[in-house]
Subunit: 338 residues, 2 copies
Amino acid sequence: MATIADVAQAAGVSISTVSYALSGKRSITAETRTRVLAAADALGYLPHASARMLAANRSQIIAVSEPVHADTDDAAHMAFAMETTKVARAHNFDTLLLVHDDALEGMRRSAATQLADGIVVLDVDVDDARVPLARTLACPTVFVGIPADTAGLICVDLDFEAAAREAVDRLVDAGHRQIGLISHRPETLERGSNFPLRFRDAFLARCDERGVAHAVVHPNGHTADGSVRRLLERLPDLDGIVLSTTPDVASSLSAILATRELVVPRDVSVIAAGVSFSTARFAVPFDTMPLDAHASCAAAVDLLVQAIDGGDRSPRIVLLPPAYIDHGSVLARATPPD
Amino acid sequence: MATIADVAQAAGVSISTVSYALSGKRSITAETRTRVLAAADALGYLPHASARMLAANRSQIIAVSEPVHADTDDAAHMAFAMETTKVARAHNFDTLLLVHDDALEGMRRSAATQLADGIVVLDVDVDDARVPLARTLACPTVFVGIPADTAGLICVDLDFEAAAREAVDRLVDAGHRQIGLISHRPETLERGSNFPLRFRDAFLARCDERGVAHAVVHPNGHTADGSVRRLLERLPDLDGIVLSTTPDVASSLSAILATRELVVPRDVSVIAAGVSFSTARFAVPFDTMPLDAHASCAAAVDLLVQAIDGGDRSPRIVLLPPAYIDHGSVLARATPPD
DNA sequence: CCGCATCGTCGAAGCGCTTCGAAAGAGGCG
DNA sequence: CGCCTCTTTCGAAGCGCTTCGACGATGCGG
């Protein structure tokens, strides 16, 4: 491997001149710069990563902490890790993957050894062990998700509350009067995954505000079977369903409604909200307010880079407004006669 | 952050003594070692990653190259990247994630800058651009998957050929006479994904050897709809199906067979082989020979660490024998009267 | 014509660690 | 008692880079 000394020799200049010519941190004559760049190019020179890290006190590495809980959607996780990596590259950072139990310990390690310049924390629980840890680290950290106690943290997430409100509003505005929410499985909520709670609570509040009959169910298995049954028990004239659940449950919904002679959107309107999968390939695609991995990760990395490069570590919560993708699964109801 | 000098001072020894006490590369009296360890502990000392990398000429980082093609299964990719990371940690390596277009360029970069000590290449195509690149790199590289030209490479994969043969053998041995293979979507094969080809070819060869009627279909959409229709056109008495396909296609199979009054395993036996998803939660679970991410990645990382630490870079192909998980989806057929 | 900025380049220090060679001390043997 | 060996520890070099201070050269104004 060629070193900066080789380039310097080839270009007939000093080592520091090469460094400045390549970094642009001091002015260099155009002619000298050209010579240096040519030499670097000819030698295929790339700076030795660890030497650069040591001297510059910067690793250009972002750690990504991703615990991967058994009950969460692998494909969604993948998307977040990948998007974080992609966006980080655009900022000239590489990403280090910290998974499973090392999601926690790895944060401490990569911060203490200064392996990472910053950390992105994914799959955040309400009561996440990584929250107190992050507070003790010298290393800037951004959470994708909102834990219970956000004091001192930088957090980014879809505005699940706004999404829940918009879902309710759209259904109510279109004349729906009995709205059910199919949420996540009970174990997901018990573990303390944060967004299902936020979504559910906002859903309940908005339904109350709008004065509409409503019910919330949590699927027990991997289909919407029991959820639909329980919704219909509580809302016999169910005309709207909001989905904030897993892809397997969502994809089974149309068929299960069909067994009860219910057709989407003829009899029941459906909106999927805060979901990280697409319903476009479902037999009946649903209107969707997606949990957009790219948007969340881009925002997170932007904030992190700002903290690293710009030194702006002031705590804040950034909520991303939901987008609405129309697939025609919401049908206006005739206003019931007073 | 505490440095090795701080530890040395606290323990009342020299820097090199601390280094040797911690690394164990030279003998140190028990008493001195204890003192050093105590001091390191008290100060919360962890060696500065880049300083250590620079001095030791070792990064303890493995790059993971994962292009993520649009037509491939996100959850499966996730599993491979995660498992690689997990196994790497057990060897005291961290993993750097290289995705999308950077899967290729990142390999060059992390090798040239010596950011990575080795590379694991995932999601390998038959004609993968990363193959010729790997040959030019100084950095040891292990492929998870078998490209067309394996000259000079270290590769690990499930023995798809053996899996195909075993699937055919099990069906034929159980008296099946018309066996269909539902393979991957045409675009997956066109892109040159390597294992579907290997599996299909071995399937065809074994069916010929065993003298059994057979057909191969490639699903067009995301269900097994058309595949089943085309199989039945060509094999009117279809009694066995081998699945080497995507989870969406596989999960739709039972229901689609049901529309034709075909029940698994009463009328048709099914074996899923070389798949990275579980069929355990399907309405009818299938016998499965899994593509085990953990096994593949563990083997890959072992080989890579051997190459890095042990200097053993001799090219080789390691094929992992398939396991067979019985879910009762294969039913012995009465031998037809001669 | 001299002094003073300004510009482009250079030399050297230093980032925190590993590792080599050597020094110092301990112990055994003739 | 001296010599040699072995063990334990130390000092210093060096990994490849960034960056600071300085130095010579050039250009300008007084």
